[in-house]
Amino acid sequence: MPELLEVKDLKTQFFTRDGVVRAVDGVSFELAAGETLGIVGESGCGKSVTALSLMRLIPQPPGKITQGSIMFDGQDVLKMDDDEVRGIRGNNIAMIFQDPMTSLNPVLTISRQITEALELHLKMDRAEARKRTVELLELVNIPSAKKRLDDYPHQFSGGMRQRVMIAMALSCNPKLILADEPTTALDVTIQAQILDLLKNLAREFRTAFILITHDLGVVAGMTQRIHVMYGGKIVEKADTNELFANPKMPYTWGLLRSIPRLDENRKAKLLPIEGLPPDLIAPPPGCRFEPRCQYRRDICREKEPELIGIPNAKADHEARCWGTQAGGWLVDSDWHRDVGDLAALDAIKAEVADLPPDVKRVEAADDDKKKGN
């Protein structure tokens, strides 16, 4: 099947006073029509920047897509002129953000926000657009939608605003929806409502969607495939069942071990990922997870592993780790039992007590200056 979206070696960087932030550093992936993909990883690993890059919404300056290609429906988004990009945004690719207030215009009524897009992209007239808007609001379960058309965003609750965002996203029948932490700001019962809605809509309209979140629970029930990101790179790719049943990257192990589960009975001690996330201005030269990995060996610091297929896993399961690749020392490890090198773990814990990398970098620069004097 031809891919709907094909991202190749995407690099997006921010040129700041402190240096170049390598926010997305060589990310490649594909998505077929109607497919659902989850992107997970902790704060600052480049999830949002990846999504914004796909829509060409990176603020420039300081940001810039410095490399790669983004083929959407056979066209390279990075080679389009501004008009073409605008045509794609909203029309073919729609985005739902974490905070709906940032993308709803506070001075426009709810109906105006949606009718505007319908008139622009689908060339509907006012009356037609208004009628379609009511249908869309009903579709996302806004109670008495007709009566609330002329309300303003602030008159809606957080959950209702997120529904409006979803209605807007659906308004032009997009082929792809990018949902960036769509429920992170919501309460758990409201989150369940919204996820339920998204799931049903995606099924009904066969819209592909990319769900970005830091919550492994959310992607477990919502997606077909998952990509785990760390420090601007994808470190593991697998289908959803495989990723949870047979994770292959020590970072993924760490994530799974550090979160308590609702259905867990034993009050076992959590095993945190020790240390701190990498500084994307001066990332570690080898494996980006090496400073926090208790399975590391010398090669991990020296050379960066590729994201490739691995033994003891499904064919399309890929990981970026020397240990789990063919011939590596973790190929047969049972991640439930083998918690790694305890001496390394202690060394990493000491790191937590120390200053974070960015402060150290500034200090090193200061020291250099002092030496220079």
């Binding site: 902790e42 209702m160 369940a192 629970g217 990922i273 200053l355 402060v359």
Partner: protein, 352 residues
């Protein structure tokens, strides 16, 4: 009064003999007893002449106790009154009504000086590690301040104590001259913990201490809190909206909805045999990181939003969203009753 079918005959008899206890009385090992606690915030109108037009009934009559050495988890959705409960207990707000007893002493009527002495035993850890630390104070002063306020240490002794506290929370003891902005979120939360520990409290209200932290860092702080509890025999009121974390850390759990505690039970009972429909819905809504489990799970999807605490619904506050609601639910506020040993719930139709 009803008993769940899972209780053994012995348990039933023991329970009936003991009779019904109120949620605030409990056993003799209580460090804290809260009863009929109310915290209303006045709503005013007018610019020059402010007149009260109503009240936010943030906490509206709650009963519970906390036993020495235990962790009581307090969960519920945004705005249900968790933080207000924590603050009203520590008398950071003057409660509108009810009683808060700490080691048998009634706090709501204590004078300023006496309360200051009490406060040494009760500390708070805040949600936002960025906002809760004064950016212009060094870490040494942040942690040392309570030592001075309570005349516990000064000069060199203070510095040494601060260094010891930094070591206890897993930070480099030589950071006393640093400012908060030089630390990561997880490290700042450790500084907040060190400050709370400085006065050697017995009781700590931890208000969403990990919500602002990254997933990988959350477990570091949870482990730290658990280790400190063991080491210093601390008692926690642990406030959070993450039900998985609360299950992990708590001995008992209280569920709040719109200013009321609707259910309170030992942790396993609450999670395995929830009695209140709201607890049931809440638990079913939490995603579990396991696709095999997720595919089989049935979710209770609640309709609508949480009503306003200014005009809470009549009768049972949950009746506007409850799928089990009957006529009586909108008329009579259900009592908070012990339905099984140490398992309280406020519902006319509790159980499965």
């Amino acid at each position: 009064m009803s008993l769940t079918p899972t209780q053994t005959q012995d348990q039933k008899e023991a329970f009936i003999q003991r009779g019904r206890s109120t949620a605030s009385a409990g056993s003799g090992r209580n460090l804290l007893e809260v009863s009929a606690l109310k915290m209303h915030f006045p709503l005013t109108q007018g610019i020059i002449f402010q007149r009260q037009v109503g009240a936010v009934r943030a906490v509206d009559g709650i009963d519970f106790f906390v036993e020495k050495g235990e962790t009581l988890g307090l969960v519920g959705e945004s705005g249900c009154g968790k933080s207000t409960t924590g603050r009203a207990i520590l008398q950071l707000y003057k409660p509108t009504g009810g009683s808060v007893k700490f080691e048998g002493t009634e706090l709501t009527t204590l004078g300023g000086e006496q309360m200051r002495k009490m406060r040494r035993k009760m500390q708070m850890i805040f949600q936002d590690p960025y906002a809760s630390l004064n950016p212009r104070m060094t870490v040494g002063n942040i942690i040392g301040e309570p030592l001075e306020v309570h005349h516990l240490a000064a000069g060199k002794a203070k510095t040494e104590r601060v260094q010891e506290l930094l070591r206890i929370v897993g930070l480099n003891p030589y950071f006393t001259n640093r400012y908060p902005h030089e630390f990561s979120g997880g490290q700042r939360q450790r500084i907040g913990v060190a400050r709370a520990l400085a006065v050697e409290p017995d009781f700590i209200v931890a208000d969403e201490p990990i919500s602002a932290l990254d997933v990988s860092i959350q477990a570091q702080v949870i482990n730290l809190l658990e280790e400190l509890q063991e080491k210093f025999n601390l008692t926690y009121l642990f406030i959070a909206h993450d039900l998985s974390v609360v299950r992990h850390i708590s001995d008992r759990v209280a569920v709040m909805y719109l200013g009321k505690i609707v259910e309170l039970a030992d942790r396993i009972d609450l999670y395995e045999r929830p009695l209140h429909p709201y607890t049931q819905a809440l638990l079913s809504a939490v995603p579990i990181p396991d696709p095999a489990v997720e595919q089989k799970r049935k979710r209770i999807i609640l309709t609508g939003d949480v009503p306003s605490p200014v005009n809470p619904p009549t009768g049972c506050r949950f009746h506007t969203r409850c799928w089990k609601a009957q006529q009586i639910c909108s008329e009579v506020d259900p009592e908070f009753i012990e339905h099984a040993p140490r398992h309280w719930a406020a519902c006319h139709f509790p159980g499965a």
